[in-house]
Amino acid sequence: MARIDTMTTLRDRQLNALKQMLNLNQTLTKAVANEPSWKVLIYDRVGQDIISPLISIKELRELGVTLHVQLHSDRDSIPEVPAVYFCTPTEENLGRICQDLDNGLYDQYHLNFISPITRQKLEDLAASSIQSNSVMSIHKIFDQYLNFICLEDDLFIMKHQQSDSLSYYAINKGDTKDTEMEAIMDEIVESLFSVFVTLGNVPIIRCSKGNAAEMVAKKLDKKLRENLWDARNNLFHGQTGTFSFTRPMLILLDRNIDMATPLHHTWTYQALAHDVLDLSLNRAVVPESTGPAIPGQKTKTRTCDLDSKDPLWSEHKGSPFPTVAEAIQEDLDKYRSSEAEVKKLKSSMGLDADSDLALSLVSDNTQRLTSAVNSLPQLMEKKRLIDMHTTIATAILNAIKSRRLDSFFELEEKIMSKSSGVESKAVMDLISDTSAGTAEDKMRLFIIYYLCTSQLPDEEYKKFESALVAADCDIKPLVYMKRWKSFTKMSSQGQYEGGGTKTVSMFSKLVSQGSSFVMEGVKNLVVKKHKLPVSRCVEAALSGAESGGECELAWLDPRAARTDASVRARAPKHPPPSDAVVFLVGGGSYIEYHNLMDFAKQQATSGIARKIIYGATTLPHAGQFLKQLSLLGEEMQ
């Protein structure tokens, strides 16, 4: 089945929308050598977060943006050039815009609001523009519906800066007032709505019952319904032909479905970068290793951009770490050989100039020379990338070695898969071992152990607690986890089954290659393919089973008429959709993302093409998540 319109991913669509916005909302033409049109881009924090993973500064320059500044900074007046504003319609932003209009900073204003602006605020803006007599300079106002951050082709989060209001802690804390909860839910619904407007499709909603996800689902359903039945400005019009084929399924899940995965130690490249190097908005902060670290002096850091244009990154971001090390080594070898070729060409050119030249030889050499010259910038770029990856990989490797993350990972995989019986002794050993890992690591290991064993006798629990306190750990999360465990009636048996690791003695091959990554002491672990609970739910939902086993999901269809029962009766008869958008309320994790991608690939090889998009309110790394749990535990006491 050939699908023509699913070729553009969410990221492409968002990028297209942004580019069109930057082109002053005129359609982009692809003529040869376009005349440059200059513009100034002004954004607020949310806009900055949205733009930075998608467009680099160089690309902004190419699109004609000569200056990009924050909204709430002091700005100079720049005449004769259109100013493109990209911000959320909050009171303070609008206030600042009105101030700009008053001061007459620019000549043409193109206002693009990330989420739709209310009628009231629009009237206020109109009033103040009349006040300042700048009605004529406001050329266009757009509602962009881009209120989400797209990190990869199929991964999006809601907010980055100022995202504490959406964290797991905020949603689950005991003293959240109703109004606060409503506000949070509204924000989430807003974001999901923009995602679907950008995708251009109305989804079928399935949600897990009885928690925050259900609230979000109901609100989203209402909002989509209102918009669809509003004939005047239906945002999904013009797409009716594609509905029957590509209508995706939105699966809303709550973080409570699986608490162990965000705390799990990771082994894939991207997840490790996220965990160890604080990868956020596709940017990693790598400490430069310049000799031994002198205490009291800040280590120099280097920020590295990791985006999808880098072939090594896009191929290996989901693969286990030793594979990545090998790939970097391979790339380095290839680069060295091409460098040698270019050097050879240089020497051969010098030789040929002495002997008799027939003209044909000259043109042949010029051809080789031009090809070498053309490939030089590519080679430089490659070198830069290899350098960057080497730094990142070395930093990660150092962290793994110093914190013994590989042993943690292995043990956790064993616990979660129950492939071999794990004695509590092994866990105890690792916890009381002072050389292994930070206090957070030990805490994470213990929480996973606690969640995955069905019954932990009390005195064992006390022993562990004392060991943890001895190791300087913060045991407040445990209080919260106890309560959570008693709440969830799902047994954690069989949730993570099928995982596990096997050690492959491949490091001999690595060492013999003279690799710069001396991986002795780091076990070369290969992860067996397994499915996390989230993937399992998604699989059950997509295969059309009414009862998804562990997760009961409710059906909601915004396009259908009111009566719910008829929808539910009709739903199984329809062929289940093949595309899915999975959204986790309360925080997501890169591990789940990679697992879902693997699941989609697996399904693709068995003949069903699926496109799965993973989204979450935020992507906390394990340390942040642990902090939130500890805050929750604290307030329970």
Binding site: P36, I130, N133, S360
Partner: protein, 321 residues
């Protein structure tokens, strides 16, 4: 989603509301003009100027691109002569140089003016963008030129009638000929063309090569000619011989065919006869078998008769005793 019309509607409502409430918006006559003509700053004017020049150049190049590149167009006489192409080349080069120069001046002028950081960034970026625009237009032009040179090279190669890989005996055109040989025919032409030899550019050397045929080359060509003629003659003779041989073979083959047809008839006859013979033989065999049988039978009867007779005689003899 475009909500500009919505905004305009809002403005109208607010204005009517203001009128209703009696609030007067400050009407500054100075600002009230529809086409607000702010004094255009010198910076933007110059920038726009340079850009428009580059745009003109680009349009010109794109317009004439097709004609420039049509080398083998014999349907419409739309081809450009080399002179026109050179004209375009030099013209474009001149404009590019002027623009480059202007841009450099512009940049230097800007550096001297003290400005705030943001405006400085903005101006630098504007100049950078104009620069990259100029570069892309240059690229169009250089692509055209490169295609033209490549085609010229190919034509030269073809007209030399040599393979590009073999090392030719043609001496290096960079090495000057000192004394033309007297025996060569048409040395005056060679002298004339040599005086036009221009070694400044490699391509020009290539292009001017076609007029220069040095004396040695002439001799070599002549000897090659003679050689080729001889070869061709011998080949013609051989061809004739082969022709006669082929005719002879054809005749022989005809006779051969005739004989074979005769043999075919004979063979047919023989075959039929053989078939008849086989039949006859079969009958003969049958008859001989019968004969033998009858013979055997006759003998049996005779013996039996004799035996019976002898027994009768014996019996009669005994009886008559």
């Amino acid at each position: 989603m475009d909500i500009t019309p919505l905004f305009k509607a809002c403005i109208k409502t607010v204005k009517t509301r203001n009128k209703a409430f009696g609030i007067h918006s400050p009407t500054n006559d100075d600002k009230q003009r529809i086409l607000r003509s702010k004094p255009k700053t010198g910076f933007m004017a110059t920038a726009r100027d340079i850009t428009s020049q580059i745009t003109k150049l680009r349009d010109f190049l794109l317009e004439h691109r097709e004609r420039y590149l049509s080398f083998y167009n014999d349907v419409t006489g739309d081809e450009m002569s080399e002179a026109e192409r050179d004209q375009i080349d030099t013209g474009a080069q001149r404009i590019i140089n002027t623009c480059c120069h202007l841009l450099k001046e512009f940049r230097n002028d800007n550096r001297k003016v003290p400005l705030s950081l943001q405006t400085r960034d903005f101006m630098d970026a504007v100049i950078d963008l104009i620069d990259s625009y100029l570069k892309s237009v240059c690229k169009i032009h250089s692509e055209l030129k490169a295609l033209r040179v490549k085609r010229a090279l190919d034509i030269r190669k073809l007209s030399r009638l040599e393979l590009p890989q073999t090392k030719s005996n043609i001496p290096n055109p960079f090495i000057q000929e000192n004394a033309p040989k007297e025996e060569n025919v048409g040395t005056e032409e060679v002298d004339n063309t040599k005086s036009k030899l221009d070694l400044s550019e490699n391509e020009v050397a290539v292009l001017s090569d076609e007029g220069e045929l040095s004396a040695e080359e002439l001799q070599m060509f002549e000897s090659e000619n003679v050689q080729l003629l001889n070869e061709l003659n011998s080949m013609t003779d051989e061809v004739r011989q082969i022709e006669s041989k082929v005719l002879h073979i054809a005749e022989l083959q005809e006779i051969f065919t005739e004989k074979i047809l005769q043999q075919e008839q004979d063979i047919d006859r023989i075959a039929n006869t053989v078939v008849g013979t086989t039949e006859t033989m079969k009958d003969a065999n049958e008859q001989i078998k019968q004969a033998i049988q009858r013979n055997a039978g006759l003998r049996v009867y005779v013996l039996f008769f004799l035996l019976v007779m002898s027994f009768t005689l014996l019996f009669l003899d005994w009886y008559n005793e």
